[in-house]
């Protein structure tokens, strides 16, 4: 529309230049008359004012307005091209008269965003069509804030809106676009959720009625989006719940970081401990062991320098066997603390050697049955030590009481357990009768149970004796040294370990 006006203005300017050139009074008068007539007929264009002025509704348009419950085209007076114009209005739904149905129809030249209580209801950019929003479920009793964010690209500008609310009582409320809407300055913040208008906000201007040129009398199309449902606020969407989840996450993260740091430290400490153990074992072995060996050899040599019958030779002989025993004991200690020997394979070979050496002093033959290809699985130090003591005890009992000619030592691995059996075909005993205290059996069983193992004794008078030990490869309380308990409670773990040592 504005384009048309400008063209005309330009043509008048051309005429007037020619007229001035001729300095003709008649022409000047003619021009003035024409201009006056034009201005009279088109006051808006003459002011170069882009907004349309409302006219009277035609009867046809009146019918449409009545049927659809529409208002007028509204805009702000400060017209600009590419302009955003915000409209705001609050409505009150009566508390004692709930809404039965509420339908809002809206369009804008050129586009709009519609909000209800700061929630975006919809948008549109076709001024030829109406959009019909069903807001029945959103208009709860109480105050609601409607807001429209309109945009005009150029030329005519306007927003047309009408909401028809049918109340339960049968009454009908119409909210339409008119000058009761307020224009919100574009600089205002959070205007969508304002429940009260600002004093500076100016009322909207009615720029046209339905059916006024260039707008339609009947909309080309009425679009109906699905009925809008109120937001359902589930408990997991509430702030306190999200806050709680967030804080739990933070706490968990912090805890896991702390545990990881502690684990790393502990792993490092364990490594250092292993290295230190190996070093001590090596030192003892190299220095003390070599010195003892030397003692044994030198006293053996010294012994030969005395006549066979002399008492000194007897003393040296005794000295020799003592030093030999000390050397052997030293080997055992080194074996026990050497972390290189923490495997099932080493344990089984050590146990066999021990049994053979122990029984070689007696008349009893030692028979071994070791699972071939015993794996080099890691065997926890405390369990290893406990099992060794228990097997020694069983061997001792068998050697002392069984009267058998042969003792069988059987070692097997079953899953994550090691099974050691000490078996003889000797006198046997009645487990019921001996079950009481005093024979070390109770102690033995208790010790193994503490370490997560089990001990089963099968015997009968004249039926031999079979003692079966079943031990886990790792101590249940310190599996790999990484259990949570050991992390949280390293102090207790230490005392436990010390207790084990004392137990020997």
């Amino acid at each position: 529309m504005r384009w048309f006006v400008r063209q005309r203005t330009v043509s008048f300017n051309l005429i007037s230049r020619r007229a001035y050139a001729r300095e003709g009074l008649f022409l000047r008068v003619c021009r003035a008359v024409c201009m006056a007539a034009f201005l009279f007929c088109h006051p808006v264009f003459a002011e170069d004012y882009p907004l349309t002025r409302p006219q009277k509704l035609t009867p046809q348009a009146e019918k449409v307005v009545e049927q659809l419950g529409l208002g007028s085209w509204i805009w702000t007076t400060n017209f600009q091209e590419k302009q955003t114009c915000r409209f705001w209005k609050s409505i009150d739904v009566p508390a004692n008269d709930p809404v039965r149905r509420a339908v809002l129809r809206i369009t804008a030249d050129n586009s709009y965003h519609l909000f209800l209580d700061a929630r975006e209801i919809g948008e549109g950019s076709n001024w030829k069509a109406l959009t019909e929003y069903d807001l029945t479920f959103l208009l709860t009793p109480g105050r609601h804030v409607m807001a429209v964010d309109g945009f005009n690209d150029g030329r005519e500008a306007g927003v047309l809106l009408g909401m028809r609310i049918a109340l339960a009582s049968g009454k009908q409320l119409d909210v339409v676009s008119d000058d009761s809407w307020l224009v919100v300055p574009n600089t205002a913040h959070r205007w969508l959720s304002r429940s009260r208008p600002d004093a500076e906000w100016q009322p909207a201007t009615i720029v046209g009625v339905v059916g006024q040129n260039p707008w339609w009398v009947n909309p080309v199309n009425i679009m109906t989006p699905p009925t809008l449902q109120p937001y359902e606020l589930h408990f997991w969407k509430t702030t306190w719940f999200l806050g709680a989840v967030l804080s739990i996450c933070i706490v968990a993260l912090a805890l896991s970081l702390w545990l990881a740091a502690k684990l790393a430290l502990q792993t490092r400490a364990q490594e250092l401990l292993d290295v230190e153990r190996a070093r001590i074992a090596r030192d003892i072995h190299d220095d003390l062991g070599a010195a003892l060996t030397q003692l044994v050899l030198q006293s053996e040599v010294a012994q030969t320098e005395f006549p066979e019958t002399s008492t000194a030779r007897g003393h040296f002989s005794q000295f020799c066997s003592r030093a030999r025993a000390a050397s052997q004991a030293l080997d055992e200690v080194v074996w026990a603390v050497n972390s290189k020997r923490d495997t099932l394979r080493d344990f089984s070979s050590y146990l066999c050697k021990y049994a053979q050496a122990f029984l070689s002093d007696t008349a009893i033959r030692c028979r071994l049955d070791v699972q071939p290809g015993m794996p080099a699985s890691v065997f926890d130090l405390s369990v290893r030590r406990g099992l060794l003591l228990a097997v020694k005890e069983a061997l001792n009992n068998a050697a002392k009481h069984s009267g058998a000619a042969e003792i069988l030592l059987r070692i097997n691995k079953e899953g994550e357990n090691v099974i050691v059996v000490v078996e003889d075909q000797g006198n046997g005993f009645d487990p019921e009768a001996v079950g009481g205290a005093g024979n070390g059996l109770q102690n033995m069983m208790q010790r193994l149970q503490d370490l997560g193992g089990a001990c089963q004794i099968t015997s009968g008078i004249g039926a031999g004796c079979r003692v079966e030990f079943r031990m886990p490869l790792a101590h249940p309380a310190s599996r790999g040294g990484f259990s949570l308990r050991s992390l949280f409670n390293s102090q207790n773990g230490d005392t436990h370990e010390r207790h084990d040592l004392d137990g020997q």
Binding site: G289, Q294, V296, L297, T304, V334, L368, P372
Partner: protein, 230 residues
Amino acid sequence: MTPHRVETKAPQFSTESPLKIALVEDKRDVRESWAKLINSFPDFICMCKCASGEDALRTLPPLQPDVILMDIFLPRMSGIECTTRLKNELPRTPIVMLTASDDDDLVFVALQAGADGYLLKRTTPADLRSALIDVLTGGAPMSSEIARRVVESFRQKPRGHDDNIRLTAREEETLMLLTKGYSNKEIADRLGVSIETVRSHLKHIYEKMHVQSRAGAVARYMSGNHVGQS
């Protein structure tokens, strides 16, 4: 070479010439003590004392000792390496390892490297003497644990094309009995053979182990140097 020693089954160390023992040990006191102990036996003489593996490689081959006693830990060249090299020079001379502790891993490696037996350093003079006799008349005694490892090592190898590194049924039976804790005497009784036969089985087992490990070494290093000797 003196082939009669290894082939004979009856002890031949009674009267005329005492058997010559060579000793490789780095600690002077220990070396002297061992020498005195050996010399205290009427039928043995300590003919040579070496302080290092390098020394042993230089002096021992021309002297041709009857038995070499070798410390397993030697500075620079280890006893195990020295054993391997000496075996190339003196393939028929038995070498007995001396170890301070009863470490099966180490002993087994030494046996594979060519040792014919092993002794704990704290062993009694009587045991030392019988071990020397054992190694001269056949194989040195083998503990059940070492026997177990030998069995495993022979089972692990894929069946070789060389019959020398396969055990005979009797040898395997002997080994199995050893793993079960039987002594040489008990094995002899059980198999109905003499104790000398058991020792000779052991001797062959030791030899096959050397061949086997050398064959393995050849395969590993792709080197033909050791093949001529074996």
